[in-house]
Amino acid sequence: MSFLNHLINGFSLGSVYAIIALGYTMVYGIAKMLNFAHGDVIMVGAFAVFISMTSMGASALLSLIIAMAVCTALGVLIEKVAYRPLRNASSSLAVLITAIGVSYLLQNLALLIFGADSKSFTSIVNLKAVKLFDGQVSISGTAIVTITACIVIMVGLTLFVNKTKAGQAMKAVSEDKGAAQLMGINVNATISLTFAIGSALAAVAGALMCSAYPNLTPYSGTMPGIKAFVAAVFGGIGSIPGAMIGGLLIGIIENIGKAYISSQMADAIVFAILVVVLLIKPTGILGKNIQEKV
């Protein structure tokens, strides 16, 4: 039965990774860049929830909405100030290094404002754990909300991309920015929208993550950010269902690894599996082979 417990916890952690990975994968798919500051947007989101709940006394839901608004604005601002001027830079390395710079900037700003000590985060979920099999298997309220949120977000995003005009514009921009402009699509606005959605999701991920693991520091976003990036690559970067599958798998592997192999080696196992997957299938599980056709 303990295996089932570990599996459920893995699912829950994996759902958080999946939500973060969606932000990575959407931005990569559309702007063709790796936004390494994405993990730190999660941290900012978590701090926004923390401040709203503890200092301002806002309800959990209102705090989450405030955090989403803060992160949306932050994501759009980062894109506009840091990445847009480099969009036509001759080397894609320039924007990658800028993203790492933004990441450090956010961490250090948080350090300056909130200090280095760990804050104890109050869970945004106020739901009783569900006990199954005479209490042998217990699913925490946070896990239920996290997994549900992940499924809702996944379905919502898939519908958004396939059924709405803005979603179609995203698909067009991801394939060919010039041709998209000729269709009348505002490429800058579409990329801003992508950052907005990714960053709002980061706020949700931050709040859920800190509800499950309630220690919040300015570095809280780093490791989940990297793991979500691994998840996005694992599933096939640029693919929305890929991010979901990759996130869940990484979460489950990490938790099972922690339980049955070694809690210190769990991260090493996750990254080792990434290396193996990339050796066998470099495009990831659902990744497409990109062929240049003349």
Binding site: K171, E175, N186
Partner: protein, 236 residues
């Protein structure tokens, strides 16, 4: 009255002066051909007109509106469509989704449906393959899709860049017949082509470009019989 007037247009790629002070005009209902060798600046001119590249100086006036200051994504709704070089259809979308993308700026569903029907009538092959992923079409079919996609915006002028590139001779003839038909149904055409013979055979007037400058212009039939044009571009 000219529909599209280009005046003293200068365009740079970094330090390279690709278009060196070009002026020409396109009248309503015409087919105008820009011909010239690789690197003459033909594609650059089209890209500058639809805003994909910024002009250094000069003006592009389309139905009284200055285009050099208009962002690229606002141009299609003014009634100007561009079939780019290499077709640049959305490879991973279906034929139908590509066509819908062409009508992105239009709102009226009924009108879009009518245009779609018209496009399918003109290109029956696209109707047959409407649910196929566009990247799996043959080169000629992709060219038809790119043209159909441009027509979906219901343009008053259509810019076509090397529509014959990479196509078999049979397809080339078919594509040029279609361009003629599109023009007959009221759409003005600005055509860029390396296949000068074909281009001159359907155009009303033409401009000959060499390294960023217009070196010759006039009636297409006359140019076809011009000795220097014959020698340099028609291989006679």
């Amino acid at each position: 009255m000219a529909m599209l007037t280009i005046k003293d247009l200068e365009v740079y790629y970094g330090v390279i002066n690709a278009v060196k002070g070009i002026s020409f005009e396109v009248n309503q209902g015409e087919i105008i051909a820009l011909i010239g060798a690789n690197g003459a600046g033909k594609t650059t001119i089209l890209h500058t007109i639809t805003g994909l590249i910024q002009a250094k100086s000069g003006s592009i006036e389309f139905e009284g509106k200055e285009l050099t200051k208009t962002p690229a994504h606002k141009i299609v709704s003014l009634g100007m469509a561009h079939v780019p070089e290499g077709r640049r259809i959305f490879q991973q979308l279906t034929v139908y989704d590509n066509l819908k993308m062409g009508a992105y700026t239009r709102k009226d569903k009924k009108e879009i449906a009518d245009t779609l029907e018209m496009v399918y009538k003109r290109f029956p092959r696209l109707l047959e393959r409407k649910n196929q992923i566009a990247g799996t079409l043959s080169g000629g079919e992709q060219q038809m899709l790119a043209m159909g996609r441009a027509l979906m915006s219901h343009p008053s002028i259509i810019l076509m860049d090397e529509p014959s590139m990479g196509l078999s001779p049979l397809y080339v003839s078919e594509i040029f017949d279609i361009i003629k038909e599109i023009n007959k149904s009221g759409t003005t055409v600005l055509l860029v082509e390396q296949n000068a013979k074909k281009a001159l055979s359907i155009a009303n007037r033409a401009y000959v470009l060499e390294t960023g400058k217009i070196v010759l212009s006039g009636d297409a039939n006359e140019l076809m019989n011009d000795d220097s044009v014959k020698k340099a571009y028609l291989g006679e």
